[in-house]
């Protein structure tokens, strides 16, 4: 009896094994063969396909061609990169994160573009723009040769749809601001007249006419087919920068309305940029091919970008070493060994990146309610030592909030917090800074740091942040004899713990955060982050009226030099005189690049525009043995 059952078990197991592995006729072999032929010679394709297909159903034709979107590697210049993670969306209205923006930046082009080398605003879809006398109206003149294109997964072709017009820009902007779209970044467009009112409206409770009136009141209109005019709520000299952002891109109304949320899938999505989305295997890979109909197609060398989504840094690095990737972020643990390796060190590239790492002080919490105490803490951070021994990525010591590539930045200016800078950068050096710090502590009435009591320093849970926090806590202890309690919390819990409305007894004295540029202007830094009337005011600034006035004046001024001067004053107020926070370092991107990459972008303010990369294709083929 049970012998039978035993056999049954074995049979079942075998069956399962076979089912999963060995069994299975591969799909009609005809198809696969045809695929190969189609790839090899382009002209004979049609014939061959038709011959085979005669036998098959008509649908098979589609299938045959459809398997060919991946062009043969050796004839198509292919760039292999790692996105690191699945882009949460490819819808320009909804994107907030760098991954989505990297992909969108390749396939869409806004009115303006941030040049990846200079980080300056250059013409994009708009060839030129005029600014009215009062700085309240911006008129953009659009190119007439930009078309919406779409990838057809049935034929593997890129198909031209229709020209991109001013109306598409108007639709895109209004769509982002429409509360029903629920765009996270809609607030960026509040600078447009009527934008904030529309986005704040409870549109569900309104009649259609009322809703339409709000939409019509938004200050963006198509003057003709190729001219679009923006009317602003306040003067904003940085508006051309905003016009480069994804939330203000043209969008194809007919597709979005027809396909709903799935319009961003390959085969549906219409785009107007250098690349076309052909494949999006969620959590796994994404592919874009060159848009042959784009106005700048002649300058685009890359035919295909193959992205993988490898989260684990050491795995991505191993793939780079194996030749699967053309560039990769260098894992922090590997930096020492890379620098020591004669070959790999040649491939290491460190570039400044538009981000700043800082420690915020809660300005109202004793004993940090005294500017001298805060300045002493800030000066007692050995920024250079931290970079050389802990972060190791050649970051730059920061004495201001905005890094050098931002308009109006005063980074490295020794007028501001010179004690934060080493001597070779024009600062006082750390030894001197320690003396100053001790003096300020005494000015504040503390003969010794231990009199301050325990200072709590909180960061979000991460190995890197923990190392930095331990190092800084040790510096404060060694130099000023201050006791520091280091705590950490999960990211979202953490962000709630450092909110402005958390009671003083619960909020930590010091918290860590970073900031990266949305656009290359100080307004995005000093004003949006730290102005108590604009941002989250986690610092709980004291006597901030002077600062607020500076920000308002700088925002309204149309004279670039005056704006720079005002922002410099703002930086000094924040980092030095009030020492409301401690700037620590300006980020760098630390990456490895294969020798066959001739040109690449890195650390850009806007999207990295991967399609502008240039490869020595013969060298890549030779190195990887591609035929």
């Amino acid at each position: 009896m049970f012998r039978n059952k035993w056999t049954i078990l074995i049979v079942i197991l075998l069956f399962a094994a076979i089912g999963l592995s060995a069994c299975a006729q591969p799909t009609p072999e005809v198809v696969e063969k045809v695929v190969e032929v189609t790839v090899v010679t382009e002209k004979e394709v049609e014939k061959v396909v038709e011959q085979t297909v005669v036998v098959e159903v008509e649908k098979e034709v589609e299938k045959v061609v459809e398997v060919t979107p991946t062009p043969e590697p050796a004839t198509m210049v292919t760039l292999n990169l790692n996105l690191g993670t699945e882009p949460p969306t490819l819808d320009p209205s909804l994107a907030t994160d760098t991954t989505s923006i990297e992909v969108i930046g390749n396939q869409m082009v806004g009115l303006t573009v941030i040049d990846p080398d200079t980080n300056e605003v250059v013409p994009g879809l708009a060839e030129s723009w005029d600014i009215s006398e009062d700085g309240m109206e911006y008129t953009f003149h659009l190119r007439q040769d930009n078309n919406w294109v779409k990838y057809n997964p049935g034929t593997g072709e890129v198909e031209v749809q229709r020209p991109v017009t001013a109306q598409d820009v108007v639709y895109g902007v209004k769509r982002t601001l429409d509360p029903r779209t629920a765009s996270d970044y809609a607030y960026v467009l509040y600078i447009i007249k009527g934008g904030e009112e529309l986005n704040n409206a409870d549109i569900g409770a309104m009649s259609d006419e009322e809703a339409q009136a709000l939409l019509d009141a938004v200050g963006v209109e198509a003057l003709d087919e190729y001219t679009v005019k923006f009317t602003l709520a306040d003067p904003a000299p940085y508006f051309p920068s905003i016009a480069s952002m994804w939330v203000a891109m043209p969008m194809p109304q007919e597709v979005i309305e027809a396909k709903g949320e799935r319009w961003q899938e390959p085969g549906f999505i219409w785009t107007n940029g250098a690349m076309v989305l052909t494949k999006w295997a969620h959590d796994d890979s994404l592919q874009q091919i060159k848009n042959p109909y784009w106005w700048g197609a002649d300058d685009v060398q890359i035919d295909v970008i193959d992205y993988v989504m490898v989260t684990e840094a050491s795995t991505a690095y191993a793939m780079y070493l194996a030749g699967d990737l053309d560039a990769v972020g260098a894992p922090q643990d590997e930096i020492d060994s890379i620098k020591a390796d004669p070959v790999l060190s040649q491939e290491l590239m460190i570039a400044p990146s538009p981000c700043t790492y800082y420690y915020g002080f809660v300005n109202t919490k004793a004993p940090l309610d005294n500017a001298d105490v805060r300045r002493a803490l800030s000066a007692a951070i050995d920024r250079k030592g931290l970079i050389d021994n802990v972060t190791k990525g050649n970051q730059l010591p920061a004495n201001t909030f905005a890094p050098a590539m931002i308009f109006g930045s005063a980074a490295g200016d020794p007028d501001i917090a010179p004690w934060a800078l080493p001597e070779d950068m024009g600062g006082t050096g750390y030894d001197k800074a320690v003396e100053l710090a001790k003096g300020w502590l005494q000015d504040a009435g503390y003969a010794d740091g231990s009199e301050l009591g325990t200072i709590t320093l909180m960061h979000n849970t991460s190995e890197g942040h923990a190392r930095i926090a331990q190092a800084i806590a040790a510096m404060w202890k060694d130099v000023l004899n201050i006791d520091v309690a280091v705590e950490n919390q999960e990211w979202k819990v953490y962000l709630n713990s450092i909110k402005k409305d958390v009671p003083l007894e619960e909020v930590p004295h010091v918290f860590r955060l970073g900031w990266c540029a949305d656009y290359a202007d100080q307004n995005n830094w000093l004003n949006e982050v730290f102005n108590p009337e604009m941002g989250a005011d986690r610092l709980r600034l004291q006597d901030a009226q002077e600062y607020i006035d500076l920000m308002d004046k700088a925002r309204a001024s149309t004279d670039p030099e005056e704006r720079k001067a005002l922002y410099k004053e703002g930086e000094k107020w924040l980092s030095d005189t009030h020492a409301a926070y401690a700037p620590i370092y300006y980020y760098t991107t630390v990456s490895m690049t294969k020798p066959w990459v001739i040109y690449r972008t890195a650390g850009t303010v806007g999207p990295p525009l991967d399609y502008t990369w240039k490869l020595d294709w013969d060298a890549k083929k030779a190195a990887l043995g591609l035929q």
Binding site: V67, P88, Y187, E196, G260, T315, K492, G535
Partner: protein
Amino acid sequence: MLQFIVRRILWAIPVLLAVTFFTFALVRAIPGGPFDFAGDRSLPPSVVANLEAKYHLSDPLWQQFCSYLIGDTVCRPGDDSGRASKGVLLGDLGPSFRYRGRTVNDIIATALPISFQLGMMAMMLGIGIGIPFGVLAALKHNTWIDYSATLVAILGVSVSNVVLGPVLIWFFALKLGWFPVATWAAEPLFSGIADKYIAASEQIPMWVNIIPKPTVDFFMHAALPVFALGTALSATIARMTRGSLLQVIREDYIRTARSKGLRERAVVVRHALKNSLIPVVTILGPMFAGVLTGTFVIELIFAIPGLGRHFVNSIGNRDYPVVLGTTLLYGVAIVIANMLVDITYAWLDPRVRLE
């Protein structure tokens, strides 16, 4: 038998309801919501309000739970947003908050087949290595074979995949170059059907993705992660088998079988092994459920687009529907696995009755 299965399924309903309820409540009890912040920037209240309205988070909690269970059409009458959910009872797990435009059903349909393929192969490897090694160690009790098998098993249990994975990559993929470093290369066996969905830009249904085409590329990509996961499982299985078999082999009825002059093989395979498998089968059930619904570490290290990451990351993202969907899926897998375990009991040991 049928009656047993039906009863177990009926019992599973209140269990899964309780799982849904507690997960629903717990995930909302964690500080921080899905839309408070974009990155580290806090969003203006009006923007948060728009997002919460879109995803119905501004509704009262009971209504949200009701909507989740039986759908917007019943619990949110007059909803004309065009995105009314049908409710989890009809298999609609709702939209993801994080991946805009994707539903939890889409995510599971894409990721589960991959975790399933990895898990199945690893389980087969684990059982295929674990049981013979366990038997061998028990039969050669206190010999060098036993000691070395035990040593290997202890190593297998204690060396974590966090270590083993990168070591395998470094040695077999980078040094020897035998296998690709990472990623998964499964094409659906029924690629013709999949292609029709791709051509129409539609989500490929789960059943199409679940059986991979047995290409060389597929097995080359699968080799390292399956080995890493399979050996870890086999170590547990081997230890369990050895311990249990050692106990059974000292039973009287084994001595009886031997004294009747049965061949040693028949004694071990038919009489001893079968009975000793009961504890092994008990751990196999939950192991199966766990492995099939995704293994976070292996999938992370080998960049496999399975379900494991969604289990973990959805909590950090406060992506409530994904947390609920994956938890429920795991619950269903556990219920089914335990039912299979119970059925196997009855078959392994005739004294057990399914009642």
